[in-house]
C-alpha cells in the first residue's frame, strides 16, 4: 500500500503557487507549457552563482575546479533521471534545439538522400515536425506521417504500412502535448528496428510525469526540456545511445568541443562534448540537477497515483459539462493529466479569458500543433495541464469555471 501523496508539502516548495489573481488564488493548469520551479531549484542556482561560479573545464583555479565538478555531477544526475550514463547526455538549450541538432547533424552527415523517408505522426509539436520538413526539403527525402484516430490514438495499422525499407528516421512524441496519450513506444521502435530506421523520441511531455528509462525503451535518441520538468529555462537534454551519438557529426561548432584546431581545420571531441559548442548552461545544469533530484526523491508511485486521479477527475469532469468536446478522449491508452478541449460556440481565447478571471491559468491556441488541430476541424483549443503540485480542489475550481463559460457568452444549447 502506498501512502497518500502529500500534495500540500509539495506545494509549499513552490513560491509562485501562493499568488493571487484579482483576489482569487492562482490555479496554475499550464504546466505543459512551462512548469513552475520549486525553491530547491531556485536555491541551487543562486547558491552556485554566489559561491562557486566560474568557467568550467578550463581553469586551474579553485572556483573553476569546483564549478566543473558541480557541472559534471549535474550531468550525471540528469542522465540518471532518464536511465542513461553521463556520456549519453548532451546539454542543449531545450527540446527544440535537441531536435534541430539531430535533424541538422543527420543532414550534414549525408545520412538522408532522395527517395529516403522520414516518418512522424499527425500529432507532432512543431518542434518535431518542421526540422524534419526542412531536412526533407534539403535532402530530397520524403516526409510522411502516421495518422491519428478520432479518439486521439495513433493509427498503428497505418504505421505498419508506412514504415518500410525507405524509412530512415521515425520521430514521434512519447506523449502528445495536446492529446495527453502515451504512445506505444515499444511497438513503434519494433517497426523502426525491423527496417533499420533511427528512432527519435520527443519526451517533453512524458518526462514531467512518467518514470523514464530511455535505454530500456529501445529508442535511439530522445529529447526533453528542463523548463517543463521543474527546472530552468534555456536548458534541455539530448540522450542518445553511445554508438548513435558516436556516428553523428557536430551540428554547431566552437570552443570546448575540439581537440586540435588550426586555421584550416578542427578535430572534434567524442560525445557528449562534440555537440556542446561554446559556454554551456552551467548554472542551469546545476539547477536542473536539483530539479530532477527533488522530483526523483518524491514517492514516485504515490505521485503517479495522485496524477492518475487528477487525470480522471479532469477528463470525467469535462465530459460531464454540456457543449464540451475533448481532444484525445480514450480509455484505451495510458494518459497524463493534460486535456485539451473545445467549447462549442465559444472561441478558445474567450474561454481562456473567462477562466483567467476566475484565477485559472490554462493555455489557449494551437499549442504548436496546427496540423493536429486541423485534423479535428479546429484552429484553436483550450488545454488544462496538471503537475505533481496540482490538487483535486484546483481541478474542481477549473471545472466549475468551465461550466460557466457558455452561459457567460450567451451560448445556448
Amino acid at each position: 500500500m502506498t501512502l497518500p501523496f502529500d500534495v500540500a508539502a509539495v506545494r509549499a516548495e513552490f513560491p509562485i503557487l501562493g499568488t493571487e489573481i484579482d483576489g482569487r488564488p492562482l490555479v496554475y493548469l499550464d504546466s505543459a507549457a512551462t512548469s513552475q520551479k520549486p525553491r530547491q531549484v531556485l536555491d541551487a542556482e543562486r547558491d552556485f552563482l554566489e559561491t562557486a561560479n566560474a568557467a568550467v573545464h578550463r581553469g586551474a583555479h579553485f572556483l573553476a575546479a569546483e564549478a566543473t565538478e558541480l557541472f559534471e555531477d549535474a550531468r550525471a544526475a540528469v542522465a540518471d533521471f532518464v536511465g542513461g550514463t553521463p556520456e549519453q547526455l548532451v546539454w542543449t538549450s531545450g527540446a527544440t534545439a535537441g531536435l534541430n541538432l539531430v535533424a541538422g547533424s543527420l543532414g550534414y552527415a549525408g545520412r538522408l538522400r532522395e527517395g529516403d523517408e522520414i516518418v512522424v505522426t499527425e500529432a507532432e509539436h512543431h518542434a518535431n515536425l518542421i526540422p524534419w520538413q526542412e531536412l526533407a526539403a534539403r535532402t530530397g527525402a520524403r516526409l510522411r506521417h502516421i495518422p491519428v484516430h478520432d479518439d486521439g490514438t495513433l493509427d498503428m495499422a497505418a504505421a505498419e504500412g508506412l514504415i518500410g525499407e525507405r524509412t530512415k528516421v521515425v520521430a514521434f512524441p512519447h506523449v502528445s502535448n495536446v492529446l495527453g496519450i502515451v504512445n506505444p513506444v515499444a511497438e513503434l521502435v519494433a517497426l523502426a528496428r525491423s527496417v533499420g530506421a533511427l528512432t527519435v523520441l520527443d519526451a517533453c511531455q512524458s518526462a514531467p510525469h512518467l518514470r523514464l528509462d530511455l535505454p530500456a525503451s529501445g529508442v535511439d535518441l530522445a529529447v526533453f526540456s528542463g523548463h517543463k520538468i521543474f527546472g530552468p529555462y534555456a536548458i534541455g537534454g539530448l540522450w542518445g545511445r553511445d554508438e548513435v551519438l558516436d556516428a553523428l557529426p557536430p551540428f554547431t561548432t566552437g570552443g570546448s568541443m575540439i581537440t586540435t584546431v588550426t586555421l584550416e581545420k578542427a578535430e572534434f571531441l567524442p560525445p557528449p562534448q562534440r555537440f556542446e559548442a561554446g559556454t554551456q548552461p552551467v548554472s542551469q545544469a546545476i539547477a536542473l540537477a536539483a530539479a530532477v533530484r527533488w522530483f526523483g526523491a518524491l514517492d514516485r508511485d504515490a505521485a503517479h497515483a495522485h496524477e492518475a486521479a487528477l487525470e480522471r477527475r479532469l477528463r470525467e469532469g469535462l465530459r460531464s459539462i454540456d457543449g464540451i468536446r475533448l481532444l484525445g478522449d480514450t480509455d484505451a491508452a495510458d494518459r497524463v493529466a493534460l486535456q485539451a478541449f473545445d467549447v462549442e460556440g465559444v472561441h478558445a481565447h474567450d474561454v481562456g479569458q473567462f477562466l483567467d478571471s476566475r484565477g485559472v491559468a490554462v493555455r489557449v491556441g494551437h499549442h504548436c500543433a496546427q496540423p493536429l488541430h486541423r485534423r479535428f476541424g479546429l484552429t484553436a483549443s483550450v488545454r488544462a495541464s496538471a503537475a505533481i503540485h496540482t490538487t483535486e480542489d484546483e481541478v474542481d475550481t477549473f471545472l466549475d469555471a468551465v461550466s460557466g463559460v457558455r452561459g457567460f457568452f450567451g451560448v445556448t444549447a
Binding site: H349, G365, T379, A380
Partner: protein
C-alpha cells in the same frame, strides 16, 4: 468579475454574434483584399475594401477568431457605415481613426475610446488593459489600414 464584464460588454457579444459586413462583397474597380493573421492565437481575417474617389466606398470581411476580433471587425464596419454617410468616409479620416484606435488600445487603459468618435467600437476600451488581447481587437483595423494602402 467587473474586469471581465468591462472587457466583454453586451455590445461586444452582440456584434460578435451578428457580424456587420461579414461575407466578402464582389471586388469593385478600386478594391484591395487583405489577409491578416494573429500568429499568437490563430485569429484570421480577410478584408476587402473598395475605394472610390478618395472615399471608403465599402468594407466587407470574413474570418474566424475570438469574440473580440469578430466584434471589432463588425464595429469597424458599423462605424464606417454610420460616419461615412452615403458617399463613404474619406480615406484620410479612416486612417486617422485607425491611428487613434491603435493609440488608445496600446495605452494600457490610459486613453479611453470615446463614443462620439468610435461609436459602438468605444466598447472596446476595456481591451487596452489586456495586452494579450490588443492584437485581437486590432486585427480588422490593421487589415483596413493595409487595404487602404493598396487600393
Amino acid at each position: 468579475m467587473s474586469g471581465l464584464e468591462s472587457l466583454y460588454q453586451e455590445l461586444i457579444l452582440d456584434h460578435a454574434k451578428n457580424r456587420r459586413g461579414f461575407g466578402l462583397a464582389d471586388p469593385g474597380a478600386h478594391s484591395a483584399t487583405v489577409h491578416q493573421r494573429n500568429p499568437v492565437c490563430g485569429d484570421e481575417i480577410t478584408l476587402r475594401v473598395d475605394v472610390d474617389g478618395g472615399r471608403v466606398a465599402s468594407v466587407s470581411w470574413e474570418g474566424a477568431g475570438c469574440s473580440i476580433s469578430q466584434a471589432s471587425a463588425s464595429m469597424l464596419v458599423a462605424l464606417l457605415d454610420e460616419d461615412g454617410g452615403d458617399d463613404g468616409m474619406p480615406t484620410a479620416d479612416a486612417e486617422t481613426l485607425i491611428a487613434k484606435f491603435r493609440e488608445a488600445l496600446r495605452s494600457r487603459g490610459q486613453i479611453p475610446l470615446d463614443e462620439e468618435t468610435f461609436g459602438d467600437a468605444a466598447a472596446l476600451s476595456g481591451v487596452s488593459k489586456y495586452t494579450a488581447r490588443v492584437k485581437c481587437a486590432m486585427l480588422a483595423w490593421v487589415a483596413l489600414e493595409e487595404g487602404l494602402r493598396q487600393a
